[in-house]
């Protein structure tokens, strides 16, 4: 599994454009909000938690449809399935690699986005924590979605339709957590609930993805 993770890392390093594209997409989407709702600082701060999370989840969706499709096209997927790793192990590594190459970099960009949305500085830390957990949740769900839609015609369109509704709980708890931190009340319960969701998805989503890969 370490070997596979190393390979994913090496591949991502050879194609840094994918990671950069997700980061820039995230920043651009958050930059759109001030134009749309007007530059009034109170309004912006009010919508900041939701806007940050929506933008991050959308940005993390971008590279998902190539997650297994690229492997299937060049024959690597068959070889991986015969590599002695189980389908679930492959999916887990894929999900982690996806998070490391998209969710992680989004964390680096989150202070910039938070500043653009006039989120109080005191809430930036919680915002980064929430974004990290929410994107990890999406990476896990998205891996299962990518495995399910593999081979489907227009799987790239189907994938968000499958995955985004499932990400709603992460959206609710995540946005509530950032908002609580911004207004100075206890944010911990919300973030813990989000962490619990992610912890539940950590074993379950790869198992589902692995079964889907086998059945493909």
């Amino acid at each position: 599994m370490i070997a596979l993770l190393k390979r994913e890392w090496l591949l991502a390093a050879r194609h840094p454009g994918d990671t950069l594209a997700a980061m820039l997409f995230f920043l651009l989407v958050t930059a759109l909000f001030p134009f749309g709702v007007g530059p009034a600082p109170e309004t912006l701060a009010r919508i900041a938690p939701g806007a940050l999370l929506s933008a991050a989840l959308l940005a993390a969706l971008l590279p998902l449809d190539r997650l297994f499709a690229a492997e299937a096209e060049d024959g690597s997927l068959d070889q991986l399935l015969l590599s002695g790793l189980s389908g679930a192990q492959i999916a887990l590594v894929k999900a982690l690699a996806h998070w490391l190459t998209t969710g992680g970099p989004l964390l680096l960009a989150s202070p910039v986005a938070a500043a653009m949305l006039n989120l109080p500085v005191g809430a930036w830390g919680v915002a980064a924590l929430v974004l990290g957990l929410a994107t990890l949740f999406l990476s896990l769900l998205g891996t299962a979605g990518a495995a399910l839609t593999l081979g489907a015609r227009r799987g790239g369109v189907l994938l968000p339709l499958l995955v985004l509704p499932l990400a709603i709980p992460a959206m609710i708890f995540g946005a509530a957590g950032i908002e609580a931190a911004a207004s100075g009340v206890a944010w911990r319960p919300f973030v813990l609930l989000l962490a619990a969701l992610t912890a539940a998805a950590l074993p379950l989503a790869p198992i589902a993805a692995g079964a889907a890969l086998r059945a493909e």
């Binding site: 070997a3 399935l81 015969l82």
Partner: protein, 171 residues
């Protein structure tokens, strides 16, 4: 064993079935008398499957491509490349190789670590005469060591004395 038959006769499907990638619609797959698919990873560990696609990542060099599989399966990258005559090209990204060189890169996976069973789907596509001779040496060494080969092909392969199975077409 040589597997022949018209296009669409089911050669590739049979190989994928033997590899455990597709489940049989009926019947079962036996290895030494016991169900091979009961333990998928154990079955996968005793075979190498060479598909139509070469499974080389275009962005990685030939060495990096092979090094990944070598970490999973064991074996030396340098000797595997030498066995298919690609020594000296290991530093090139796989996308810069010709079709025949990519095919040899895929064949090099066979030379990494010994396993009992090779499943080859038209292994000689795109190879020049010298490469086919070299591939013949690889096959001979594998069979010498007691290895089995099941190869689907339309052309003659350097497999002297192999049994042949002709799949009847849908025609």
């Amino acid at each position: 064993m040589l597997l022949t038959g018209a296009n669409g006769a089911g050669k590739s499907t049979l190989l994928r079935l033997l590899a455990g990638l597709v489940p049989p619609a009926e019947g079962s797959l036996l290895w030494h008398g016991s169900d091979a698919l009961a333990d998928g990873p154990a079955h996968a560990a005793r075979l190498r499957y060479l598909a139509h696609a070469d499974a080389l990542k275009p962005g990685l060099t030939l060495e990096e491509n092979l090094a990944f599989w070598a970490r999973l399966w064991g074996g030396g990258v340098g000797s595997a490349l030498a066995a298919v005559g690609l020594e000296g090209l290991g530093h090139l990204p796989a996308r810069m190789l010709s079709a025949g060189q990519k095919r040899r890169g895929a064949l090099a996976r066979l030379a990494l670590a010994p396993v009992p069973l090779w499943l080859l789907d038209e292994p000689s596509v795109g190879l020049d005469a010298a490469s086919i001779t070299r591939f013949g040496t690889l096959l001979a060494a594998h069979r010498e060591a007691g290895g089995m080969v099941v190869a689907a092909t339309h052309v003659d392969l350097p497999l002297p004395g192999a049994r042949a199975l002709r799949l009847g077409g849908a025609a």
